[in-house]
Amino acid sequence: MIVVDEYLAARVVGGDWPEALPDDELALQASRHWRLLQALHGGRGGQLSRILGQLSDAGRDGIRHPHPEVLQVLDPRPLLDEAAILAARYGGTGLLIAESLAAGFAYGRQLWFGTEDNVGHLLARAAGELGIAVHVANT
């Protein structure tokens, strides 16, 4: 199981599998799914919400309820305690980064992103200290 970010999740849902991404089952952590859903439902996504509004109902369903053979959404409960420990260790870390680190730690000590811009300095630094490999697959 490989933990991916919103970019890779949206790419594989759309059938655009990056060359560099290993052939394995993929999972999206709940807080990253939440970010996609907030944008999809127009809560706080701004321009992105308007763009996602162009998706068909089936396309929206592909984001809301990913096809389990393509992408799974991780249950956040088993990760919460470790995420809280990491949030305390790295002050100022929100759930997004803390859960990313906990998920990366639990699933093969690796995290996969679709662009460097979605990694962030704090996550990159903490992942390095924790021995979690951060990969970017953008082709």
Binding site: L52, A58, G92, L122
Partner: protein
């Protein structure tokens, strides 16, 4: 055992388990079958095309608006 044709015309035996794994791999890589071509094109533009900036800005906006999610002292 079942056979799989290779370009050279040779055959390679595959067990039922291997065939099932290969079929799961094919379906996984094909994406969600419910999506239309226009849906796929929109997701492609958002993740690797001309709308990447809007995609990142939208994700960042969600985090920025929610301190529990984004935290109070980081660049994500």
């Amino acid at each position: 055992m079942h056979g799989v044709d290779l370009p050279e015309g040779r055959m390679v035996g595959m067990s039922i388990g291997e065939e099932l794994l290969a079929e799961r791999r094919r379906r996984r890589r094909a994406g969600d079958p419910r999506l239309s071509e226009s849906d796929r094109e929109l997701l492609r533009r958002l993740t690797t095309g001309d709308l990447v900036g809007e995609f990142q800005a939208g994700l960042d906006a969600v985090s920025d608006a929610d301190p529990l999610l984004g935290g109070g002292d980081n660049d994500d």
